[in-house]
């Protein structure tokens, strides 16, 4: 770790902590009624999001999933616009039309969360195709879960990317479950990274709870992609600490499993490492406080933002060339 500057390490922590606390806040705000829709929280999976996105430049792009808050925040998404979107306000990222499953910010290279498992993978490949055709040194990274690797969309997209050597990184967050079904009952293969062999690009397994390890493999994959050498499949082994969605009774967990993983909590572990690296408790508290303040502001912003106007529902279906209106 010591090869990284304290600033960098603090930034890693800041983003991970932001994600964790954003998730807890939004769960709380959902309970309190500010947020009307479902939330699939990524509590426990902060390290993959942060490690991966830190390896990207702003002009690089990501596609995300139903469990996307972490990815978006890690890529630079503004908590207040996200919270406002979750609260279905017109100031939200999607003007209240999208909600948790569809947050996007094209300026930040966030091409969208996705409600369809595996649904965003082909678009990442398409973005990479655009970069490659225009000879831009940009990279597309697609986040998806272990369950998504059993979708036809993953297979077809990976094949095309491998074939055309496109600058794309396939980032699989293997959290051992797809909803209530364990990974072992969804695919006969344990290490999903091995699937990359079908498409002739490397597959790498990484401790998904270690943001630095994730950062390092992703950086390598991104550099490879930028050099025009094609895709990489990264499998981050991790675990989700909460239900598939908030309210999930979680009948499916194995006894003792959660306890084991809680010991590897990416936030707590990294916080300890930060202290070991010489960061002071006060400095860390300071970061945490800043995050909390940002989240207070986000909630306040969301709460005070107006709900959309009814006729808003009718625009944005088509482009401005048709007034964006439905027909």
């Amino acid at each position: 770790m010591s090869k990284y500057s304290q600033d960098f390490l603090c930034e890693v922590y800041r983003r991970m902590y932001l994600i964790r606390e954003f998730e807890l806040r939004s769960i709380e705000e959902r309970r309190r009624g500010l947020i009307p829709g479902f939330i699939h929280s990524c509590v426990g999976q902060e390290a993959t999001a942060v490690g991966a996105c830190l390896a990207l430049n702003q002009e690089d792009v990501i596609t995300s999933t139903h469990r996307g808050h972490g990815h978006l925040l890690a890529k630079g998404g503004e908590p207040k616009f996200m919270m406002a979107e979750l609260a279905a306000r017109s100031s939200g990222y999607c003007r209240g039309r999208g909600g948790s499953l569809h947050i996007a910010d094209f300026d930040l290279g966030i091409l969208g969360a996705n409600g369809i498992v595996g649904g965003g993978i082909p678009a990442a490949v398409g973005a990479a195709l655009a970069f490659s055709m225009r000879k831009e040194k940009r990279v597309a990274l697609s986040f998806f879960g272990d369950g998504a690797t059993n979708q036809g969309s993953f297979h077809e997209a990976a094949n095309l990317a491998g074939l055309w050597k496109l600058p794309v990184v396939f980032f699989c967050e293997n959290n051992l479950y797809g909803e209530g079904t364990p990974q072992s009952k969804q695919a006969p293969i344990c290490d999903l990274a091995n699937r990359s062999a079908s498409y002739c690009f490397p597959g790498v397994i990484v401790d998904g709870n270690d943001p630095i390890a994730v950062y390092e493999v992703t950086r390598e994959a991104v550099e490879r992609a930028r050099r025009g050498e094609g895709p990489t499949f990264i499998e981050g082994k991790t675990y989700r600490f909460r239900g598939h969605y908030e309210g999930d009774p979680q009948v499916y967990r194995l006894p003792g499993e959660m306890e084991e993983w809680l010991k590897k909590d990416p936030i707590l572990t990294f916080r300890k490492r930060l202290l070991d690296e010489g960061e002071t408790e006060e400095a860390i508290r300071e970061i945490e406080q800043q995050v909390q303040q940002k989240l207070d502001e986000a909630v306040a912003f969301a709460t005070s933002s107006p709900v959309p106007q009814l006729e808003d529902a009718l625009s944005g279906v088509y482009a401005d060339t048709h007034d964006g209106k439905v027909f």
Partner: protein, 328 residues
């Protein structure tokens, strides 16, 4: 008669059929340990075991395709697709394989496959989890499309689907799962396809309801009754086959017709119903065929917007009143 929920009625139909016929089985994402994300198959794993209540990978193509293959080999699979929105992940299997197997093989392939799938907007689930795919496959010959609106119909129609020899898309409305109503306990209670149900008689206007809109049509009829308009409410029950006779007969009596469905208006199930009536019953019409349906925009997340986009009781009431502008 004892009353149970739409959800329990569906579960009961599955359990009864699985008890009487060993070839019936259920497969889908999280139907087993989880009991189905909508809870419909709760505790079925315990009774029937892993062989007959099969949790699958998140692979809609494989679920439908495996259902097809098993059905052609003499099983009677019930394949669950969690959201109607995801049917399109298996579009080719449904349209080009399942629907056409019998015809293309010269009538030899039997495909007793029931595709259970949820439909409708559960509230702020946004554009990819709220769609009503009732009409998406109506253009495809070879499929039957079933839209139960009551617990009894849910049970009786599902039994017909499971016992039949043809592929059926069985659309369960998420917001009806909790609906409670009388359901016959008779194990052989079935509701045949192609028979619409006149659930309220009236002489002034026919309201044809699809799925949850039947319920709203009944509520609208109550409101209209107070204004002196007697609405006849018909639950279409199956879109393919469509009970043309019952609809035409009703329109011949009332001379006015509203079709209400939650799917988007453009090319929704109401388009075919309206077109059929415009072709076969136009002489009875004293006014336009009005469709009350979702607006032609993706379902928004915001409750305010969603509510604005979805059709409601008042839309039906207003549509009915528009036939008699003088009365308003």
């Amino acid at each position: 008669m004892r009353e149970i929920s739409y959800s329990e009625a569906i579960r009961e139909a599955m359990c009864e059929e699985m008890r009487r016929d060993p070839t019936v089985f259920l497969m889908g994402e999280d139907v087993g340990v989880f009991g189905g994300v909508w809870g419909v198959s709760h505790d079925m794993l315990a009774e029937f075991g892993e062989e007959r209540v099969r949790d699958t990978p998140i692979s809609e193509i494989a679920i439908i395709g495996a259902g097809l293959g098993a059905a052609m080999m003499g099983m009677r699979p019930i394949a669950e697709i969690m959201f109607g929105d995801f049917l399109m992940c298996a579009g080719d299997q449904i349209v080009n394989q399942v629907a056409k197997a019998r015809f293309m093989s010269g009538g030899k392939a039997q495909v007793p496959l029931t595709i259970r799938v949820t439909t409708g907007a559960p509230g702020s689930a946004a554009a990819q989890h709220s769609q009503s795919p009732e009409s998406w496959f109506m253009n495809i010959p070879g499929l039957k499309i079933v839209v139960p609106a009551t617990p009894a119909d849910a049970k009786g129609l599902l039994k017909t689907a499971i016992r039949g020899e043809d592929p059926v898309i069985f659309l369960e409305h998420k917001m009806l799962y909790g609906e409670v109503g009388p359901v016959p306990e008779d194990e052989n209670f079935v509701v045949p396809f192609g028979q619409a149900n006149i659930i309220r008689e009236g002489k002034d206007v026919t309201i044809v309801g699809v799925s949850i809109m039947v319920k709203k049509a009944l509520q609208a009829a109550d409101v209209l009754a107070k204004e002196g308009i007697e609405a006849e409410v018909i639950d279409v029950r199956t879109l393919v086959p469509l009970d043309r006779e019952t609809l035409i007969r009703s329109v011949a009596k009332t001379n006015h017709v509203i079709i209400a469905h939650e799917a988007h208006k453009r090319a929704g199930p109401g388009a075919e119903i309206a077109a059929m009536l415009a072709e076969d019953a136009v002489e009875y019409l004293d006014g336009p065929i009005v469709r009350v349906a979702a607006k032609n925009v993706p379902l928004p997340y915001s409750p305010v917007l969603e509510n604005y986009v979805l059709p409601n009781v008042n839309d039906i009431v207003e549509a009915a009143k528009s036939f008699w502008p003088g009365k308003a």
